[in-house]
Amino acid sequence: MIEILWHGRGGQGAFTASRLLGAAYALAENRYALAFPSFGPERRGAPIRAFTKLDDRPIGNRSEVKRADFSIFLDDTLFSKAAYAELKPDGKILLNTKKRYDDRRVVTVDGDGIAAEILKLPITNTIMLGALAGVFDKVSVAHIEEAIRQNMSEKLHGKNIAAVHAAVEAVRKGSVG
C-alpha cells in the first residue's frame, strides 16, 4: 500500500488534494483508494492533516497514516525535522518552498511561485498534487486532470490543470533539493 500524508493549514485545500489523488488513482481498473482528513472541528489557518491510501486491493485499515511513502507540505512553515519520523525508509518529503535542501529525501518546488503566476491565488494544493505526479509514476497526469474535472467546479478546471502541468515540469526539470 502507498500512503500519503498531507500537511496544510485550514483553507489551503490539503484535504481536497488528498481526495483528488484518491479519485485519480482509482480511475484505473482494480485500483482502490481511501482519502480522509484528520477529523474534528475545522479552523481556517490552523494546521491540518489529510491522508490518502492507495492499493490494488480493497483497503480495510481506516486509521491515520503513521509512516508515509510521501509526506507533502503545502506550507513550509509546518515543516520540521519531526517529519522524518513519519516517513517509511524510502519515503520522500515534497515541500512547497523557495528554499533549497541538501537532502535526497526532500523534493522542493516553488509552489507559491507557480500559484502566483497561474492561479493568481496563494493556493498550492493542486500544484503539490502535480509535484507528486512528477515523482510518483503510479498516478498519471491524465488521471489527475480527469479527477479535477469530476470533482472540482467547472470554473476551476483550466487553471488548476495548467498548474498541475507546471508543477510536474518544475519537479522533473529538477528544482529538486
Binding site: A26, A33, A35, F36, P37, I59, G60, R62, S63, A147
Partner: protein
Amino acid sequence: MAKKFLSGNEAFAEGIRLARPQVISAYPITPQTIVVERLSEMVEDGSLKAEFIHVESEHSALSCAMGASAVGARAFTATSSQGLLYMVECLVYASGGRFPIVMMNANRSTALPWNIYGDQRDSIALLDSGWIQSYAENAQEALDLALMSYYIAEHKNVSTPYMANLDGFVLTHTYEVVDVPTQEQADAFLPRFETENKLDFAHPRNLGFSAGPDHNTQFKYKEHLGLLRVREIVNEAEARFAEIFGRRYTGLTENYRTKDADFILVTLGSISGLVREVVDGLREKNIKAGLLRLRYLRPFPDEEIVRALSGAKAAAVLEKDISFGGDGTVYTNVTAALQKAGVRLPVSDYIVGLGGRNISAEEIEQIFEELKRGAVKTVFLGIGGEDA
C-alpha cells in the same frame, strides 16, 4: 453504473436519491450534516423531486417524517448522537405506529464529556426502540443499504422503521470508490411504497390510537413479529439486489474465514475491514482466525451467530459500546444467543473506540493472542478490565 469517489455520507445520499423519497425532514448535527446537505442540493437542483422540510429539532424531524409516512409518503430523516437521543420519544411512536421511515444515524459518542467522534453507544442504547438496525462497513455498502432499507422497511410483512448506522467520520467522512447505480436500475429494484396503514378518505381508519391492558400485548407481539420477519425479507431483498446490481450481500451477518476457525472476533461496522486484514495476516502464520461481522443488530442474528461460533475454541466481541455497570450490549446479546442454543465456549468482551479512540492492527492481533488462553473477561482495550 458510474464509478465515483465519495464519502460515506455522500454515498448514502446517492442511495436515498435513487430511492426517491417524497419527504425529507432533518436537523443538522455533526457528523451527519453532509448527508442532508447533499440531499437538499439535489432537491434544489431538481435531481430529486421531494419536499425538503427544515425543522427546528430532531424531535420535529422524526414527527414530520411520521406525518408524511401516515399519508403514505416515503419519508427520510437523518441524525446522530444527541440528536438521536432527543428524538427518542418519537422513535417508539414510529415503530409502534408501524411507519416504515428510513433514518440514517451517523454513529457518534454521547455526552458528557462532550465529544463529536465516533462510537456506537447512541444507536446501541436504542436497540429496544423497535427499529430495524443495520451497520455498514464501507461507503458502497452504505449506498446499497440506503436502497435496500426501503424495500425491507416497507415490505407489507414488516412495516417497521429502519435505522441505517454509519460510523461517524471513519465512514461518514472517508472518501472511497463507490459504484453509483442508474435510476433505471434503482427503479427496477425498489417498488413504489404501498400501504394500508395511512390516512385515506376513501378508506377511513384509525391511526395512532391507544390500546389498554387487554390488547396492548397483542400489538407489541405483532411489532415483535414484524421485526423477526425482517430476516426473510433481507434475504429476499439481497437476492433481488444481486440480480439487478451484481453485488451479493450475506444476510444479517457476514462470515469471513470462520468455517474452520479456532478463534473468532465478532464485530460490526467499519472496524471490520481492519479485523479482516488482521485475520489474513494470522492465517499466513497458520493461526486459524476468523471474523463474524454483524450487519444487523435488530433483528438480532442469533441463529447465524450460533452457527458461526459453535465450532470455535474461543471468541471475543469487539464493540464501541458499554452498558455501564453491565457489559457491552452486543456481548450480552451474543452470549445470550449461545446460551439459548446450549453452545458453550469462552467469550470475552472488548470495549473499544469510545469517543473515537483509534484501534490498531497490533491491538486486534493481541486480542487473538489472548483468545488462545481461553479466558473470559470484559476489557476496556488499552485501559484494563477484570476477569470474570
